[in-house]
């Protein structure tokens, strides 16, 4: 909601209310600051809209760990889907990090399958195949394995 200088808002329902229900719940904003202001409605839609339109740089990633936001890249091992084990396959160098994210090294995984984590809600950090599914959204058929290389990209 934009409240121009000198304007008064409509009656707004902000806050949880008190022990008598409506008590302390309703208010009006009166702008005498000399400037126009943005005052968010008490709604999820306005909150999301405010985040989306905030005039700041946003770096969106797949998950968070240790205070960083990660947006990794992945290289699917050659072969690629091996019966038994994937030892005979080579690793594939992942692409560079997306703009704004810093390269924090790579991690190889062998004899696993990204698809084993397609419904796993735990943090993927440190598990090459779990992170691989986050990046690629695919793996190998059941009963086969592949190699994967993850490039940690974080901000």
């Amino acid at each position: 909601m934009r409240l121009n200088n000198g304007a008064t808002s409509a009656a707004l329902s902000h806050g949880p209310g008190g022990q008598f229900g409506e008590e302390n719940k309703w208010l009006k904003y009166i702008n005498t600051t000399g400037s126009d202001h943005f005052i968010p409605d008490n709604s999820t839609a306005e909150k999301n809209s405010s985040f989306a339109s905030a005039p700041v740089t946003k770096r969106k990633g797949d998950y968070s760990n240790g205070g960083y936001v990660y947006n990794n890249t992945a290289g699917f091992g050659t072969g690629p889907c091996w019966y038994g084990n994937s030892n005979s396959a080579g690793y594939t160098t992942p692409g560079g990090c997306p703009a704004g994210f810093s390269d924090a090294g790579i991690l190889n995984g062998n004899n696993g399958n990204n698809n084993s984590y397609n419904t796993n809600g735990a943090s993927p950090h440190g598990n090459a195949f779990h992170m691989g599914f986050y990046v690629l959204k695919y793996g190998c058929p059941a009963g086969t394995t592949h190699k994967i290389t993850i490039r940690y990209c974080r901000v």
């Binding site: 050659t78 072969g79 690629p80 091996w82 019966y83 058929p141 086969t144």
Partner: protein, 113 residues
Amino acid sequence: MITKTIENLETYLTERGSSKTLILLSAEDCHACAQFKAHLESVESTFSNIVFAEVLVTLETKPLFGPPVLPSIVGFEDSQRVLEGAGMPEDLTVANNLIQSWVNGEGFQYSAG
């Protein structure tokens, strides 16, 4: 590219006789298999004397004649395995060259491992 079941493959290859048949061993839920199939279909018309056939396999039905990797290609003449491409090469022209070498009567194998 036609599709054949693993159960009917032996009969089909017998019917093909000495004609060249290229089998793509593939599987459900195999991203690379779909990529490789799309590539082979894009060059299939170049090799008009070869029939390209996809065979979907599982851990339980994978054939002994195939390499231990998916996707793979295997060429047959007179029901005999005469060509093998193990895996999907990063450079897909490697597969094209292998098939062309088959047409030319030359060497018959690559490995993407």
